[in-house]
Structure formats: structure tokens, C-alpha cells
Amino acid sequence: MNKFSSIFENRHDYARDWKKRSGGKVLGYYCTYFPEEVAYAAGILPVRILAKHFPDDTTDRLMYGNCYVTRDMFNQFNLGHYDYIDGLVCLESCQWWYNAFDVTMQVFPNLWSHYLFTPDYPDGNRSKDVLRSELSVIQKKFEEWTGKTVTDAELDNAIEIYNTNRRLLRRLYELRRFNNPVILGSEAMEIMLANQVMDKAEANKMLEELIPELEDRAPGEDRVRFILIGSETYDAELEKLIEGVGGNVVIDDLDNGSGYVWNEVVPLKDRLMAIGLRYLGKPHSALKDNVWRRRPEQIFRLSEDFQVDAAIIAKQIYCHPHGTDMYAVWKLLQERKIPYHTFERDTTLPYEETRLGVEALIHVAKQGMTRANGWS
């Protein structure tokens, strides 16, 4: 467990060390709709750009109104934390991410860059063809960049590695279905975040050792079961805070959480089409859920499968995709009588202020059984 959290903590050193070992290139991406398999097949390490708060006096010059996360991504580049990144790829998703990508490219023009169009209407008849053509375009650009062609065998290998990774991470989620789960939400989230910044082959080896260990663990404490909904996360602070008050996040509807592992690439003769279909078929992120709604249904299905007692909705300030979906999510939670608490995150997570809401939610969910008499 702590191997993963140490990789997550000093992810920059890990990436620099990977570059020394493999001599390959590191590609930064922002949105989890990025089909990483194509990059991996070309020998490139895809790394998700993560935000971590540092005093920020570099971003006001080119940014206004951004959520703190995209500001920090740009700030990290200015502070030199991402000096090992060789290229950046941006997708048609949230415009604040595009803004972070665009201003980073203006300040670091010699980075390799590419804009990949992923349809906002993922279920359209021609959307799969568009994504297929976009993948072939980016594959050619990878080949020009690395100087070697991407063979079908390499694509199959990448698909196999990524599907194994998803299966292993999905087992972590399955372990959290049971009462008194053996793994806490914060531990699982740190493993997820570590997996998004490391070489999947190495991650699979570490997961294959870790999961049997977990399965022999004694069941954890009896805690209130939460589902975490909202903007993508970049650390496990919130999960740790919830655990500090007697709760435990057993499932999440985050794009970089369950959305990252919920479905696999179904191999087809046309490899790029197979990869594209996986990303179009994954649980919708807020910006892609535009026609008949799937997100509320997905949230309810996860809540029922994992027997959650309450929902925590943590949205970044100025995160408009999740802001626009708020009504649909609230409406579902109210219909299905799932108690929920919504709050906004910013650079710092004030402990007492957040604890107030989470603790009250536990009492509303566990109705009357306060710690004094019995449960808490």
C-alpha cells in the first residue's frame, strides 16, 4: 500500500527515474477520456497532470476565473515540477483544462503538443468513426515523434496491459462492497492516483502482490458508507477527513475513480476502433452526459450496489460541468431518499469547516444512533 502512496507522493521523481530507465518520452494529459493505450503502444508513458497547491503568483497574468486545479497545473509547470514532461495532449473536454494546456504551451512552446477531438456526444452513430480517425491521426504523430512505427502487436500488448490494470483496480473496488471493507477509501484512492502517473506494467506487478495480501486482511471497523460524487480529485485529503469522523468512502462516481476502470477494451480486428469504443462507452463524465441522462442512473446503481448510507458531493469552485449537473444529481438523490451534503473545494481543505458537514450528514444518515448510544 505505502509503495503506491510513496510513488504518488513523489511522482515527479518516479517519472524522472522511469525516463532514465527506459529512455522513453513522457506525455502529460489532462482528461481521463484520453486513450492512453495508443501512447503506451508507442513506448510513451502517459502521465495525468495532477494539481497540488503551491503559493501561486504566476497564473494571474494569463488566467482568469479558472478553478484552482487548472491554475495549479499551470503553476506547477512554472515552478519547474514538470520539467520531465516532453509533450502535452489536450482533449475536447473542459475548457478550463484547455486553458491550462493553451497557456502552458505559450510559456513552454518547445513541448510536443496535440489536440485530440473526443466527441461531446459520445453515443452518436458517427462519434465512433470520428474518434477512430482522431486516434489514427495521433498515432501517426506519435510515430513521427518517436521515430518508430506502432505495430498491431504493440497495440495488443498495450490493450492487454491496460485491461489487466483495470481488472486489478476493479478488484480493489469489489473489495469495498463488503461490510467493514478491508481497505479504506483513502488508501484505494491513493492507489488509483498512483496508477494514473506510473507505468501500468509495473503497477500490475505491484497490484498482483498487494491484492491477495488485502484479501487476507481482517475486516476493518464498522463505518458509515459514503459515495463520493463531483469533480475529479487530485489527492486523498477528503477521504482521510471523512475517515477521521467515522465515515468511509466505499465507492465514487469520479472520472478518475470508478470511471477510470469500470469498462475494458473489447478486442476487435480494428484495434484503434476497439480502443475508441471503450472510451466512448465508459460511464459519462459531466461534460459528455448531454442527451438522455446516464450520470444520475450510474450514481444510483453504484450507490445501491455498494449499499451506501449517504452521498458527499465535492465540487471544485468554478467547476461548471459538475455545477450544471448538480440539479440532476440532487433530484435523483432526493427521489431515492439518499441523504447528501454538497460543498465546494478550493486550494486548501479547511478541516473544521468540512468536518461540520460530514459529521452532521453521518447523524442524519444514521438517524438518532449517535456515538453515545451504540453506533458512532
Binding site: L62, Y64, Q95, D102, E134, Y318, G323
Partner: protein, 441 residues
């Protein structure tokens, strides 16, 4: 003429005709609410004008409704925004959305009448993320059909092979919308007039380009105040030809006459400035305040966008039509609905906001050069992501070429709560006086 008046000035004669058209449109909205016409949310996608070709369909687009609510009643728009905020749409949602769809939750309009609940919703996909999810607000309230849609773009040079798939997905989406509306609402799409309009569409946007070039002259025959009203009138009402008559031609002729005789929109024009993206709902107030300094606003990429996709030709010093992709079939042999849709969607990769921000970064500097502006007011809307995305960069780019840039802050275009008018007026005074201009009227 008073001593400070540099140019002769005269009110626009076309004005009363424009007022009549707007009154006609307002009436048509009220009638349609009465006679069970289907109300379509947001559909004014600019590719296909749904109202003209579906007889029983009427469009109520949320941007103009949100803007009108904000400008007519602070109190009611504040109540609507509260109604939308307590249901989840907080501070990061565009003010137009909060105004228009907040009233949906109140259930009544400003004049107390019942809120016109929509029957279907077609997306206006391109400009900003708020648009990608626009039209969901009514769908989330009650299960009415809403269609998906994309505005595919990419950075870098043109790649016809890559373009092909991007166009195909939009063609398929548009054809699906038309077929579905026919099936679900048992109505009929008027293909003939749609195909015919494609032929005439060309000359309506030519009008736009001519107005644009006329406004590059000093003094500008038209100021943004009037241009923006014509923009919303044209874009908003899309009145049928028999009502419109030769309105656009008459407008062009009058502006041409004014340009030839140097009749200015603002008598004491001594300073020209541009603005960015939709004028805020209170634009009349601050443009008139600036006219005390002899400063005239000549428009923005948004209001001049009536002209469609244009580019600035440095040699001829003129804006000209910009077509990247030649449709396979030229206008004459566009016969079927699919041909027409493919023709409309192929022509320009789109002269829309996302294009300017994403891959035509020279657009704003060309625009400033073309109109010979000395200043630019670039608003920083905290909630409207598409309107705010690259304002700071453009500010730096413009000030590098010598244009004095003023940034003022507000929450969103349709929301008065956050605009500190006093601070904005002080900023205008400072912006003008630092450039050596004093109030002269």
C-alpha cells in the same frame, strides 16, 4: 454643431422599421404560446434555422431571454437566479442560463404569466462549455427530447482527411435531429425552402461583410449600440422573407450613404475602441458614458460575426469571406436535404468563438488592426467560461501592438449582482484620462 462636434451626425432612418419588426417578433412569441406551437429551447444553431422549416415550431433562445430579463427588471432576474441557485446552479453558471432557467423553476414570467415550458431542446454546441450543456436545464426538469451535437475543431494546419470525419458526424447529428422531430412531433421539414435559403444565405452574410468594411471608416457610420441591436434582431428573430422585405438591403444602402457623406454615429468621435464577446446587458449605459469622452465602440468579433467567417486582408485593407473547405457539390446542384446540410456544415470550419480562442489567435489582432482601434474593453466574466477563456492573453497581445486594454470584472453577462458599477465607471475614467482624453460633453 457644438464646438467639440467633429462630424455631422443624424439618427438612422431605418430605426422605426427595425422597431416594427421587433414588435412583430414579440407578438409572434405571445401568439405561439397561445396556439399550442411547440416551443423549442435554444435551437438557433446557425447551421439550420429550425423555425423557418418546421411550421409548428417556435424558438425561444435562452441568451436573449436572459439578457432581456436582466435589463428590464433587476428584481425579477435576481429572484430567478436565486431559484436556480437553490436548485444547484451556483456561481459558476452563466448568468443568462440562471436568469432564463431560474424562471422555469419559479413557474411564472416577469409579467406573471405562466412560464413557456419547452417541448424539445436542440443544442447550440460550439462557443463554450455552458453551450455544450445548454438546453439540458429544461430536459432535467421534465423528460423532453434533447439531441446531442458537436462542434468539432482541432489545432494545427488544415487536414482534409481529418476534416471529413468531423463533418460527417455533424451531418449525421443534424439529419437525425430533423428526422426525429418529424417522427416525434408528427411534423414535416420544408426541404424546398431550406435548399433555396442556402443559395440566398450567401448574400445575407455578404451584407454583414459590407457593413463590417463600412465600419472600418473614420468616422464610423454605425456604432456598436445600433449594430448590436441589429445583430440580435437578425440573429434572434429570423423573420420570414415576406415580413422582412428588403430591410437588410435598405440598411446597407443607408449605411453606405452615411459612410460616403461622413455622417458619424457619434458626433464627437475622437477615439475608437472594440469590445469582446456579448455586450453585457448594461452596454447602453457604459457606451453612452464613454461617448462623453468622444469614444465610440465599433463592435466586437461577436457582433461583427453576422458577417460569418472573415479574415483581414492586409493588402486590400478589407475584411473578406474566408472559406477553408470547398463543399464537394457547389450551390447549384444541391438537390437533397443531405446535400444541403453537408453544404452548410462543410463551408467554414466555423467563424465562432471557440475558433478565435483556439486556433485563430491572430483574429483579435487582425480585427483591432482592421478597425483601427486605439483601445479595447475586454470583460472578465467570472461565471461565463467561454467568454472569459482567453481574455487575459488577448489583452497582452493587444497591448503589445499598442492598443490600450481595459479589463473590468463581473459575475456573468446576465447577472447584475457582481458588477460594481462605481468601480467600472472609475476604471473607465482612469482608462480615458491616462490616454489624455477629457470629458467634452
Amino acid at each position: 454643431m457644438s464646438t467639440n462636434q467633429l462630424w455631422e451626425t443624424k439618427p438612422l432612418e431605418i430605426w422605426d422599421r427595425a422597431k416594427a419588426l421587433r414588435a412583430y417578433w414579440q407578438q409572434s412569441i405571445d401568439d405561439s404560446a397561445a396556439d399550442t406551437k411547440l416551443l423549442l429551447a435554444h435551437g438557433n444553431t446557425g447551421d439550420v434555422s429550425w423555425r423557418d422549416y418546421f411550421s409548428n415550431l417556435n424558438i425561444i433562445e435562452d441568451n436573449p431571454v436572459g439578457a432581456m430579463m436582466a435589463s428590464t427588471s433587476d428584481e425579477f432576474s435576481r429572484k430567478s437566479r436565486l431559484a436556480s441557485e437553490v436548485r444547484g446552479w451556483g456561481r459558476e453558471i452563466c448568468g443568462y442560463v440562471q436568469n432564463c432557467w431560474g424562471a422555469q423553476f419559479l413557474g411564472y414570467q416577469q409579467d406573471g404569466s405562466v412560464f413557456p415550458y419547452r417541448d424539445l431542446s436542440v443544442p447550440f454546441t460550439d462557443p463554450c462549455d455552458q453551450h455544450t450543456k445548454r438546453g439540458q436545464q429544461c430536459m432535467d426538469l421534465s423528460p423532453i427530447p434533447r439531441w446531442g451535437g458537436d462542434w468539432p475543431i482541432y489545432l494545427g494546419e488544415d487536414d482534409p482527411a481529418r476534416d471529413k470525419e468531423l463533418i460527417e458526424t455533424r451531418v449525421w447529428c443534424t439529419l437525425k435531429i430533423i428526422a426525429d422531430i418529424e417522427r416525434i412531433f408528427d411534423t414535416e421539414f420544408d426541404d424546398a425552402s431550406f435548399i433555396n435559403d442556402i443559395k440566398t444565405e450567401r448574400e445575407r452574410s455578404d451584407h454583414g461583410i459590407r457593413i463590417m468594411n463600412l465600419m472600418t471608416k473614420t468616422p464610423s457610420p454605425l456604432s456598436q449600440k445600433d449594430l448590436y441591436s441589429f445583430y440580435t434582431l437578425g440573429g434572434l428573430t429570423r423573420l420570414p422573407p415576406e415580413i422582412l422585405g428588403d430591410f437588410w438591403q435598405a440598411l446597407i444602402d443607408e449605411i453606405q450613404w452615411r459612410a460616403d457623406h461622413q455622417i458619424a454615429a457619434v458626433g464627437n468621435e475622437r477615439y475608437r475602441y472594440m469590445e469582446a464577446h456579448p455586450s453585457p446587458w448594461h452596454f447602453l449605459k457604459y457606451m453612452r458614458y464613454l461617448e462623453h469622452y468622444g469614444a465610440v465602440c465599433i463592435g466586437s468579433q461577436y457582433s461583427q460575426m453576422m458577417a460569418g467567417s472573415v479574415s483581414w486582408n492586409k493588402e486590400t485593407k478589407e475584411f473578406e469571406r474566408r472559406v477553408i473547405r470547398k463543399p464537394e457539390k457547389d450551390v447549384e446542384n444541391v438537390k437533397t436535404r443531405e446535400d444541403a446540410v453537408r453544404y452548410v456544415l462543410t463551408e467554414a470550419r466555423g467563424h465562432r468563438f471557440k475558433d478565435d480562442e483556439y486556433f485563430r489567435k491572430n483574429e483579435i489582432t487582425d480585427f483591432a488592426e482592421g478597425f483601427g482601434v486605439q483601445g479595447a474593453i475586454l470583460a472578465l466574466w467570472r461565471g461565463g467560461v467561454g467568454c472569459t477563456l482567453t481574455r487575459k492573453e488577448q489583452g497582452l497581445r493587444l497591448s503589445k501592438m499598442g492598443v490600450r486594454v481595459l479589463h473590468y470584472e463581473g459575475s456573468q453577462p446576465g447577472d447584475r449582482t457582481d458588477l460594481d458599477e462605481k468601480r467600472f465607471l472609475d476604471q473607465i475614467d482612469e482608462w480615458m484620462e491616462c490616454q489624455g482624453l477629457q470629458k467634452i460633453s
